[in-house]
């Protein structure tokens, strides 16, 4: 019965959100410098075709919290391609399902010790399909490959429907934000999460640059 109430409540909130006045928040996040690609140091012997691609350029995840409806789960993928996670930074709403396809010629072994989602997919070849994972706790999940220790990835699980990953220049634009007092947060890296309280009007565009 409570599940039905939750579904009905969420649907009403989403319906109100779609018909209620909404504003746009945009701005720029100060991003760290791109990291140099470290020398590959694979744990196991590798083939001659082993070529490490460049990691994704720095980006941040911006999301709006406080007085917003629960997010609808989504489905996403973090591939292993050219011995990097692709994308290197993924933003998903809580409850989303993520798959981890191996697009390289060799095994990968993806794991995370982060508290919001601890998992270890074990070794899997390109033709194998590792388990799909549901990320039902908000927070930051750091991704590693046991075989290729230079590979790093991050999944930011947000508990809000209003979020976006910035472009490489740090720009973002989040539309449809309901009126009210909210917090704009930006996850930048392991040491940096920026935040600002904002009052969003019925419409128009609010500019929020961080910091």
């Amino acid at each position: 019965m409570s599940a039905v109430r939750t579904i009905v409540g969420t649907s009403l909130v989403l319906l109100l959100a779609t018909i209620a006045p909404a504003a746009t928040i945009e701005g720029t996040i100060a991003l760290p410098h791109a990291m140099a690609v470290p020398a590959a140091n694979p744990r196991y012997p590798i083939s001659a075709s082993y070529t490490v691609g460049p990691p994704d350029p720095p980006a941040a995840v911006v999301y709006v919290e406080g007085g917003v409806p629960a997010p609808a789960p989504a489905r996403a993928a973090v591939a292993q391609h050219r011995y990097q996670f692709s994308p290197g930074l993924l933003a998903i709403p809580r409850g989303s399902v993520v798959v981890f396809p191996n697009l390289d010629d060799e095994y990968h072994s993806v794991f995370s010790y982060s508290k919001p989602k601890r998992f270890d997919l074990g070794r899997y070849a390109p033709e194998e399909t590792p388990a799909e994972l549901t990320f039902d706790q908000p927070g930051v999940v750091k991704l590693f490959c046991e075989i290729h220790d230079h590979m790093r990835g991050t999944i930011v699980v947000v508990d809000a429907p209003y979020y976006q990953k910035t472009d490489p220049e740090g720009r973002y634009r989040i539309e449809g934000v309901p009126a009210g007092r909210h917090a704009v947060r930006a996850w930048v890296d392991d040491d940096t999460t920026l935040e600002r309280a904002v009052d969003v009007g019925d419409d128009g565009t609010l500019r929020v640059d961080l910091p």
Binding site: M35, P38, N41, R43, F111, S112, Y113, S114, K115, K142, F144, C145, E146, D149, H150, R152, D190
Partner: protein, 285 residues
């Protein structure tokens, strides 16, 4: 010749005897002094040789462990665990990665007595409970301070140091050879902390040698009853006073000591040797 006076012949004989005695005595004194100096030189050379041997033995013994520590410090699982600030997870992962150091299969290999992590802020990460084996649990809080100081010495270019610490174990100080290795995330270039592994010290029981650390002598080959006298002698010599001897079974032994050149952060340690200072006594071998 007057009556009652010794004859000229007698005077001559007495004078000759005195001269011979004086020359003989002087020769004996010179020869004895020379022999003692020679023996002192031989003993000093032997001690220097033993110190070199000790250092080479330590290097050979620790080479595999040092390499293993460097590999573990780069382990992606360890780097992932230390970033989560979860001691239970960290010690569990490290226990798996260090299994061959903690429980070596090779005959004669010394298992580590403890391992600890020191966080990037310099604090020792306490093992969560006994289930995650991290070895000896020292009685004194000062040990953590010493360990943190040893790890701070890794701020320099060298990512690994070996030194001596003496934590209190079951009420007694126990000498440990400690290998500290910096842990750096090679991707982000960020210092995450350090790994410290402690081993029992092999002081080569066939020689009368030991390690002098923090005002105490650690040796299984120098009788316990002599430790106080040796400590006094070493303390005097380090303080700059003249050489000292200690009697072993009635035979005077010279005390040699030499700084083991510990890395910064570790307390100063000295190797100590006892060698018979009487040339007629074979040095203990």
């Amino acid at each position: 010749v007057r009556r009652g006076e010794p004859s000229f012949r007698l005077k001559l004989q007495l004078a000759l005897m005195a001269a011979v005695a004086a020359v003989t005595g002087a020769t004996l004194v010179v020869v004895r002094g020379s022999a003692e100096a020679t023996y002192r030189t031989i003993a000093a050379d032997r001690f220097a040789s033993d110190v070199r041997f000790f250092a080479a033995l330590q290097d050979a013994r620790l080479a595999a462990v040092r390499a293993r520590c460097r590999r573990v410090a780069r382990s992606v699982r360890l780097i992932a665990a230390i970033q989560e600030a979860d001691p239970a997870l960290l010690y569990k992962i490290a226990g798996d990665e260090l299994r061959d150091v903690l429980f070596p299969d090779a005959e004669g290999a010394r298992p580590a007595r403890f391992f600890r992590f020191v966080a990037a802020d310099g604090s020792v990460v306490a093992p969560p409970d006994e289930r995650s084996w991290s070895g000896e649990v020292p009685d004194d809080a000062r040990w953590e301070t010493d360990l943190a100081a040893a790890v701070r010495s890794l701020d320099g270019p060298n990512p690994q140091h070996v030194g001596y610490l003496a934590p209190m174990i079951a009420g007694r100080p126990a000498l440990r050879e400690v290998v500290v290795t910096r842990i750096v995330d090679p991707v982000a270039g960020r210092r995450l902390g350090a790994l410290a592994l402690g081993f029992p010290v092999d002081d080569r029981a066939e020689l009368r040698t030991g390690i002098f650390l923090d005002g105490r002598l650690y040796s299984s080959s120098i009788p316990e009853a002599l430790h106080a006298a040796v400590v006094r002698a070493v303390g005097d010599e380090i303080g700059g006073s003249s050489e000292r001897t200690v009697a072993v079974d009635g035979v005077p032994h010279r005390v040699f000591e030499r700084a083991l050149d510990p890395p910064p952060g570790f307390p100063p340690a000295y190797q100590v040797g006892l060698y018979a200072s009487d040339a007629s006594t074979t040095p203990p071998r």
